[in-house]
Every structure is written in structure tokens, then in C-alpha cells.
Symmetry: C2
């Protein structure tokens, strides 16, 4: 009997632009693998554009293109790399041997290897498994990954601990009809609309916690800014002096994230064609003030004094952009009747809460606020909202047995990316978006 | 109208042991906040044990304990810190001012401030929001967070890109009855049992991807090792030479993770009372060989030649531990009939697949393998398994339009922690476990 053993790592690494650039300077021989993004027959030789994780590598192949080599073939090839300033990444590989590792059964039905694909949103999403291979989509989601990574790195540097909380839950935190129901071994259960109860619970354990995970909203909205499943970046922290500590933390986090993208992702930002907003200070205005200011400035009547509609968010964003130069604005003190039962009311005027939204280029990307930490107060507010405290016994355990003053916020990752990358629809900031009519791919 | 602006960060930071230790050396005055973990009246003065995120800080308070100061109060206090080798962390703070920020409504019903709580598993889980405040639970989940962080850091260093894939899906990857169903705007939908289809799809985009996220299994198992929702650490990579590349990558990843814990989490490891296994090489044995060897060595009859039952996993783990000294063993070439339709059969013997499990101390913590990348082959295998390829049109798009040879694996985070921390039940490695009878807290 033989027992083989794994020894460590001796794996073929993905092609890296930096490595290739260094090799190009010396005219080194390389072995490279990737997908054939495009083939251009130049008569006598061909350009074979090879898709590697970071981008496209221009290769040349002498003679007639072998019949078995088609677009979207995956190949391994040998060649000599040299500097070629007109090629992507400033280098080119002259191939002398190509090994076809796999072949597609059919060509891709849309031109994913052209910069302008001319696809409708619907086609782009229906064919997502292949349209994601387009350069711009690849840049968008690599930037998205970097945003998440920087979010975590920043919070870890501030003593936040990462948690993983359940998505199948017995009670809904945000209430209302916007919750997906499922059968859990014969019991009624819900998909979590947010990690709200659990992240608060974990403040009693670690003081500062964060979570990156899916949340589920059964909202019957079919707009450019709604998804029914999205990634929420949440943090929650104890020992607040007041709720503006949360705004401070978010401001510092965003600054850190944008600096990280600026420093490390210049190529992808260029591909997406955006420049990042600078964040110095973020203006902070009361909800009622913001409504009034935008209404007066743009002559739009206030319809609902207790809520902001999307158009109002746009106007408020525009107003404070003109006034302060900031792409962001914190709108604070949302009305109590529009905030969930765990929101702490403002002692100075209990019609309003110690909560806020962050608007980014006229769209809400964050909701946050201070939470009630007193047991008596929380029970009372539940009753005032016609909720039965019995239904929340597990959650109320934390209030009963002691919680510091605390609060937190949630950021919609796809919305942040939509505004940051200037996308016309939030679906383009989700790998496989879920909306009312879309459950596939 | 006033517009305030957030300026950056000037927040009260959580107490850090290292900062306090440095202050203790100089006998510095400090302001500290935390929860009152325990009060011990010594007559004339009291010990007030303060719970901060990293541990317990011993404080002394002269005179009679104020009436408003109870266990689980959250306080802010001023005092002078000095070295005290008999105290936790080697320091002590003489308090001279205590401000009570919040008070519990009722004392915690169980002794979370004693090392031995004497709680049954059921009580521990029912009171999870407060039992998580116990020192051992806090250490376990901080270590868990560090495992996840190291998993990501390692994979990012190897050019893997993080992805976020949908949890509400139209088709089930693992098939069978073990899937939660939900109503999605009038359509039948499922909770993802794994990110299988999507992580494979993303190999066509980035070559190497990973995801950390919840997965859902409606298994009717009530055992010490089953959860119905758990955190899966997944990675998937293209351009495999063969499936053992995956084992190499996992071996290197585990080594990196354990090194990170060993270097950075000595205090928490001590609290949990475990030492980490060393990973040099991990033995790799064929499924049928492993079964036979364990059967012969321990005189246990082989009941089902196509599957490993938990007891067999224990015996196989024991056998290779005795034989090679390794706590881990890769069991390879699982029978085709027990693996899903996307598993690649071994060309040398198609009754077996190019797949594996990783057993750790006698329990499966990973399932992985090479996937079929050819369209024709995948369609054929679906049909052989009596599946309708039409039902998987979105998934088959990747095979149709070209995929490299690829494979991947999934690791159950809670199982890894259960075995690593020598916990008697996987539920103790989940903050808020979900099992057949448990949907709360």
C-alpha cells in the first residue's frame, strides 16, 4: 500500500502583469495559461489575445491558426515575452507552442471581447456567466472585492471582531411585509433582513463587531436601485458618546477604503472610467432641515414630512454638493415613526430618532443609528409600536442583562458600488442579481 | 442653518491589554470602559473585574461599593494602572471615579463570570446572548474570526478574488431532499446548499475565486456534527494539472492559518486550552484503500462499500494518525454514485471520481474535487443521473462557452473549529446554531 503525501505548494500560478512586465524587460521565455479572448488573423501571423485574471495579454502566433484554437479555448503556451508599448500592459508574447486544454462547445453569442458590447441590460444579465468575462465587469467586481477587503482591514485595525450570524431567523428585525418566509422543519421562519439583533447581541460580547453577509428583502420594488438579495456591510459598536461617533467611524472607514482603491487599483479604476471622490469632511444635516433646504432651493413641494423619496434624496445630495462640495451627506434625526422599534428616540424631541442615513451622490447607501439599550425603554417602545415583547424574548435578553450605549450601521455594498462606478443600475453591481423577476442565472 | 461636519476619528477606543500593560509600567492614569464582570467585596475595598474585549482587567475600588454598581453594569472609570503580577494580564487599576453608563434590569441567571459554569449544552445555547460573554466562548469566536481572516489573506496572496454569490437560487447543486424551499414572488426557490455553480462560473472570470458565506442544508440529522446553517469556506481554481493541486493548496492554506493562530493568538489558544496540530505533509489515500485498511486494522466489517459512515471516518483518522503522525488525511477517489453530477470521473476507472474529503481528527471537514469542464461530458453525466439539462441551462452556459480544467473545495468552518478546539458539539462552534429544533436565539 502506498500513501502519497501533499507536500506544500508547487502549482502553476496565474499570469500576473507585473511578473510579465519584469520578464519582458529581459526578453525571457515564459509559460503562460489563460483563455483565448480574441483571435485576429493578420495574414501570415495572428494576434491571440489571452485573458488572464488581471487583464489581456497580446500574443502573436506565426503561420496559420490551428483549427482547434478558437475563442474561449483555454490554453497553455510557451513563448518569449518582450516589451511592446502599443500592446495592453506594454508587452507582447511571441508564442512558439500552444497546448489547447479545453474547447468551448459553441461560440459566445455576444461580443464580450469588444469594448462596446452594445448589449441591453436584460441580455447582459441573462448571459451573466459569460458577460462577466468582459473587461469592465471584471474590473468592477475586483474593485468590489477590494472595497470589502479594505472595509474589513479598517475595522480590524479599530478592534472590531468579525462575526457570522444566522440568516434563517424566527423573528424579523425590520418588520413589515418585506420578509421572505420559509418552512423550517414545520416551523415558520424568515430570511434575515439584516443581522440587526445579532450584531447588537455581539456588542455585549466584543464591544465592536462587524459582518459582511447577504441580507434578504422581499420588497416589491422594481427600480434601478433595489435588489431583493444584497451584500450588507454591517458594523456595531458600544460605548458611544452619541450617535455621531458612528458617522465619524464611517467617514474614517470610507476614507481608508478610497485611499486603498486609489493606491492599489489604478488600472481597474481606469478601466471602469471613474475617479474617486475625496473625503475630507462629510456634512451632517437634520432630516427636517435637509428636506426644507432642498424644497426651498429647487421649488419642490414636501409631500411626506416623515420620509424621503428617491427624488428628494437626489435634490438633497445636489444641494449639499453645491453648498459644500461633498459627494456625501449625513441626514440625521429621522422621524421615529419611520424607524424600527430598536431606534433610540432623541430625548430632546422624541418624534425624531438618533439615527441617520448616508446619502452618496443623491442615494441612500447607509442606514444607521443609536439603539435602545435600556430594557424598560425597549419593552415600552415595542408596546407603543404594537409589538409583543414575548416575540422578542431572545433579543431582549441582552437588554435585560446589561448593554452599553451602542449603535451601528449597514451599508449596501452594491449601492455603494453603483454610485462609485457610475453604473445606471444596481443590478450591474451584483454578480448574479436577484429581483422580482430574476432568480437565475 | 447649521451644517456640522464629521471630521475623522476621535473616538473612545476599547481597552487594549497591550496599551494597559505599557501604561502600568509607568503607573499612568487611565480612563477605561467596560462591563462589570464580577464584584468581590473584600471588606474595606472591592475587586471590580472589568470585562474589556480582550479579557478581564482587575480593578480595585476603595470603600463601600455604590448601590448602583452591579454585575453587567457598563461603566466608564478613571484610575491609576500599575503592575500586579497576580492579576489577569499582570496589571491592576486602582479606580477613583466610576460613572455608570447603563444598568441591567436583572442579574444574569447563570454564572458566566466563573470559569466552570456547570451549564448543560441546552442551557448554554438557550442563553447564548449572555453565555457568549464567558471567557472561553469569547476566545473561541475570536479565534474563529482569525481563522477566516487568515483563510482570506492566504488566498488573496495566491491571486484568488473574493466573490459574493446569491443564496436564493432556482436550482439545487447538491440535489436531494436536503434543501430548504421558499416562495420567491410566487416562484419556487431554494436556499443555496453551496456556492457550487457560481464559484465554478467565476473561475471562467477570474481563474481563482473564494467565498466565505452561509450555506443551508435541510438535513434531518440530529448529531453532534450537523448544523442546518453553517459558514462555508469555499475556493475554486482553474488550470489544475490534476485534482491533487487542490489538496496542495488546502495544505498550504491550513499551514498558513495555523501559523497565524500560533503567532498571534497565544492568549486565546491558552484560554481554550488547545495546542495546534503541526502540518508538514498530509497523507493521501484512496477511498477504497482507506476503508480496507481501517477495516483490517480494527476488525470492523465494511457495510457500505460506497460511503464512509462517521465511525469509519474516526477509524481511518486513527489509523493514519498512528501510521503517519498526521491529524489530517485526504481520502481520495470517492465513488461516483455518491458524488454530485458535476464531479469528474476518474478516466482510469469511472466508478470513482477525482474528488476527496479531508478528514481532521476522524471527521470530514472538507469536500472537494475536480469538476467536469466539457459541455458534452456534463450533459451526458446529468442524463445518466436522471437530471434534465434544461433545468441547469444557466449553469451549463459556462461549459458550453469554455471553461478551463478546474476544481475546488468547501470547508465547514464550525466543524474545523470543533475539532481544532476539541469541542464536544459543533453547536459550540456556532454563535447562534441552527438545528432541527433550534431557530432561536
Amino acid at each position: 500500500m502506498t500513501i502519497e503525501q501533499t507536500t506544500g505548494m508547487d502549482l502553476p500560478q496565474p499570469g500576473r502583469m507585473q511578473t510579465l512586465r519584469e520578464a519582458a524587460a529581459d526578453g525571457t521565455r515564459v509559460i503562460i495559461h489563460g483563455a483565448v479572448h480574441a483571435i485576429r488573423d493578420m495574414g501570415g501571423f495572428s494576434f491571440v489575445l489571452l485573458r488572464i485574471p488581471e487583464g489581456i495579454v497580446q500574443c502573436t502566433l506565426a503561420g496559420v491558426v490551428p483549427e482547434e484554437l478558437a475563442e474561449e479555448c483555454c490554453i497553455e503556451a510557451d513563448g518569449t515575452v518582450h516589451t511592446e508599448l502599443r500592446a495592453p500592459g506594454g508587452l507582447e508574447i511571441a508564442l512558439d507552442a500552444v497546448r489547447v486544454l479545453s474547447q468551448p462547445a459553441a461560440p459566445v453569442p455576444v461580443p464580450i471581447n469588444k469594448w462596446k458590447t452594445g448589449l441591453s441590460l436584460e441580455t447582459e444579465l441573462v448571459l451573466r456567466p459569460v458577460t462577466l468575462r468582459h473587461a469592465k465587469a471584471r474590473a468592477i467586481f475586483r474593485l468590489q472585492a477590494e472595497i470589502v477587503r479594505a472595509f474589513r482591514d479598517f475595522l480590524q485595525s479599530q478592534s472590531f471582531v468579525e462575526v457570522h450570524t444566522p440568516k434563517i431567523v424566527a423573528a424579523s428585525a425590520e418588520g413589515g411585509a418585506n420578509v421572505f418566509r420559509l418552512d423550517y422543519f414545520g416551523r415558520k421562519a424568515f430570511l434575515a433582513q439584516s443581522p440587526q439583533f445579532y450584531k447588537q447581541t455581539m456588542v455585549g460580547v466584543y464591544e465592536r463587531v462587524f459582518e459582511v453577509g447577504p441580507v434578504f428583502r422581499a420588497e416589491k420594488h422594481n427600480t434601478v436601485r433595489h435588489l431583493n438579495e444584497y451584500v450588507s456591510l454591517d458594523f456595531e459598536m458600544g460605548y458611544l458618546r452619541d450617535f455621531t461617533d458612528l458617522c465619524e467611524m464611517e467617514t474614517a472607514m470610507l476614507r481608508f477604503v478610497f485611499d486603498r482603491l486609489r493606491d492599489g487599483c489604478a488600472d481597474d479604476l481606469k478601466t471602469v472610467g471613474v475617479s474617486l471622490p475625496s473625503i475630507d469632511r462629510i456634512p451632517m444635516v437634520r432630516f427636517d432641515e435637509a428636506k426644507r433646504a432642498a424644497s426651498e432651493a429647487y421649488g419642490r413641494k414636501i409631500r411626506d414630512p416623515f420620509d424621503l423619496d428617491p427624488e428628494e434624496e437626489v435634490l438633497i445630495g445636489r444641494y449639499y454638493k453645491e453648498k459644500t462640495g461633498s459627494d456625501f451627506v449625513f441626514v440625521t434625526h429621522y422621524p421615529s415613526k419611520k424607524r424600527p422599534f430598536y431606534a433610540m428616540d432623541d430625548p430632546a424631541d422624541p418624534r425624531y430618532t438618533l439615527s441617520f442615513d448616508l446619502l452618496f451622490r443623491g442615494m441612500e447607501i447607509t442606514t444607521g443609528g443609536q439603539r435602545i439599550h435600556s430594557y424598560a425603554e425597549q419593552v415600552e417602545k415595542m408596546k407603543a409600536k404594537h409589538l409583543d415583547p414575548e416575540d422578542f424574548a431572545g433579543y431582549l435578553m441582552i437588554h435585560k442583562h446589561g448593554m452599553p450605549p451602542h449603535g451601528g450601521l449597514g451599508i449596501g455594498l452594491e449601492r455603494l458600488c453603483m454610485k462609485l462606478f457610475d453604473l445606471p443600475n444596481v443590478r450591474l453591481a451584483s454578480l448574479f442579481p436577484r429581483d422580482q423577476s430574476r432568480l437565475e442565472p
